[in-house]
Symmetry: C2
Subunit: 376 residues, 2 copies
């Protein structure tokens, strides 16, 4: 089976590693260079999307910020899963918010802002504090603004107006600011036959808007059920096929959807050693028409992102149940370079191992891990 992935980053790379044992070979379309490459070796496999679409059995994506003409071309192949609509929904906050409303899934109140009138209406209608998010190309905390105080509104509008003027396709979504207790996410898969399997909810800790640590441990069943119902509503609304990730705010046990990612997700990397079938294998199983693998938690597991660094002390490899995953990328400040998975037989043991890991890692590269440890 040949699968073409839109995007040639670490998610396509990890799909290639998970696909090889299933005799699924992965090629990746680099949207910027228009090249087809092998996502592990970066070997050039061809140029241009047209022939690659002919050669592939299935087409999928590792990211949602894909030019519309590319999406249309893929959709026309008849092989694209989860398909252009789902990718567009994930890449455009206006569509995402509408979809959540249509699916009857709880999310923060919002309005769309295209001009100053919309901006003032948002403040009047939703009240302060507000969060403003770019409709397109926003991720990892980029393209976000906050407004707590009405006095700061005029200055913020100047900034937003300049942002909107730079791109006629762009818009701003204003959202009520949510005072959440924590951020959790649900990663799950739906296959061609409508079968759905979801992993346990993951607790996520961000630093400067970028995911730092994800933790999967046995959680409250009611919360899990709530998340699963919302996952099912969204996946069925989109007739979704593949792995889908949903980020939630947990507000005193009530979940509100923050955003969707129509793809494998950073908060699901722990599944590589905390579940029988990882998210990469399950995504491929789903889009290739195979049965989904088990998503049950086999042991408490956490993941730590490695940002902007291409070295960690070798001594961490001495820790039991530790997996180190580099992405083979060139070092750049803040860049997602790799991750560490850590498992244990109980949450208490995991906490102890996490403390050992933190002692071995340089604090400058991994800020706030100590603080996260205290929250476990």
């Amino acid at each position: 089976m040949k699968v073409l992935v839109l995007g040639a980053g670490q998610l396509a790379r990890m799909m290639a590693l998970a696909g090889a044992p299933l005799n699924i070979s992965i090629s990746a379309y680099d949207v910027n260079s228009d090249n087809i490459v092998h996502p592990l070796t970066q070997q050039l496999l061809g140029n241009g999307l047209a022939q690659a679409l002919v050669d592939a059995d299935v087409v999928t994506a590792e990211f949602e910020h894909i030019p519309l003409p590319v999406l249309a071309q893929c959709q026309q192949s008849g092989k694209f899963l989860p398909g252009a609509q789902a990718i567009q929904v994930g890449g455009d906050r206006r569509l995402e918010k509408s979809l959540l409303q249509t699916a009857g899934v709880a999310t923060s109140a919002f309005t769309v802002i295209n001009n100053e009138t919309d901006f003032n209406a948002a403040i009047a209608q939703l009240g302060l504090p507000l969060v403003f998010k770019s409709a397109l190309a926003g991720y990892d905390g980029k393209g976000q603004w906050r407004l707590k105080d009405a006095a700061a509104a005029p200055a913020l509008w100047q900034e937003l107006a300049a942002f909107l003027a730079a791109d006629p396709q762009q818009a701003i979504v204003a959202e009520q600011f949510i005072r959440f207790d924590r951020e959790v996410s649900l990663v799950g898969a739906r296959n061609r036959h409508g079968e759905i399997k979801v992993y346990p909810l993951t607790e996520n800790h961000h630093v400067n808007g970028v995911l730092s640590v994800s933790l999967a441990r046995p959680l409250d069943t009611a919360l899990q059920q709530q998340a699963e119902q919302m996952f099912t509503a969204v996946a069925e609304q989109l007739n979704y096929v593949g792995v889908l990730a949903i980020e939630f705010f947990d507000v005193q046990g009530k979940l509100l959807v923050n955003e969707l990612a129509p793809r494998v997700h950073n908060s699901g990397h722990w599944t590589q050693q905390g579940a029988d079938c990882c998210q990469f294998a399950n995504h491929l199983r789903a889009v290739c028409g195979l049965p989904l693998g088990s998503t049950a938690l086999i042991r408490p597991t956490l993941m730590v992102n490695i940002l902007g660094e291409d070295q960690v002390p070798n001594s961490i490899l001495e820790l039991p149940a530790l997996g180190l995953h580099w992405y083979g990328k060139t070092k750049r400040a803040g860049r997602k370079m790799g991750h560490i998975n850590l498992s244990a037989n109980s949450t208490a043991e995991l906490k102890a191992r996490f403390a050992q890991l933190i002692d071995l890692l340089p604090a400058a590269t991994f800020p706030e891990l100590e603080q996260m440890l205290q929250q476990l």
Copy 2:
């Protein structure tokens, strides 16, 4: 880190999959074609061994039947681990038997046969029944003969004489036939610093001399200790670096070494989901000077070889804790095409899952699994 593997088969392929997350890139030397290829994509990376030896940080091997000039060339690079001696010992039964004697490790009594006088002396000295094994290029039950009855000796000698005449390097090792209760193997790693970690003993079931099923479950501690002592003696005698596999006969709780494999081993494939750090990752960690990963059994796991078949029913993917591993090879009768790993939380649960798996697999392709199930 760049590792060159002698041999471009499934073991090099699985090393590539295990190495990528550690940013270890693997190239493979195909001894037959003299090409350097990527073991996953089979992409041509170069021709000839000389330049590949210069480019690599470390050189290792996935099989032991390597021409002596190639071994010498690799040894000269100063990068070859476990090194020419260990590979030769694994590939020549005369050297292997001598090594075991030197290391003080129990093995069946043997003599070396180069001519008819040796043949008759072997019968007189060791008694019947005897097993005769080719000194070179014997694996998966090939190059083996049995003699139970003295009357059959002259005919057998004719056959052995013809075999010896065909290759002046060849010899025969005569061994006392061992009435064993079962075959077990120990896979373990020794790194550059002399650190040793071994996986739990694996019980192996062969069909026509080829491994069919390996089972790792909690076993008798005394047997494990015995195996570990023998592993340590052999590994230290060879100053071994890398993963080493030892196959034993279990004779009423006393282990006799049957043979060594100076490499990752088919009976260690279960470590991909039954241990924290699989044999492929541990081999790379060892030869690259990294700390070894945990070899503890995390849950009972068995492996079933897929021989001569390139399809299995998709329905097996519905079983929990089942991993399907294809090698991307062209189908040929009896060829090792892939394997299935199956895990469970207890031996009883594993037995039940194994029964489910057997029901789903075609009996013609997987003979004797039912019989093996009864022995669990």
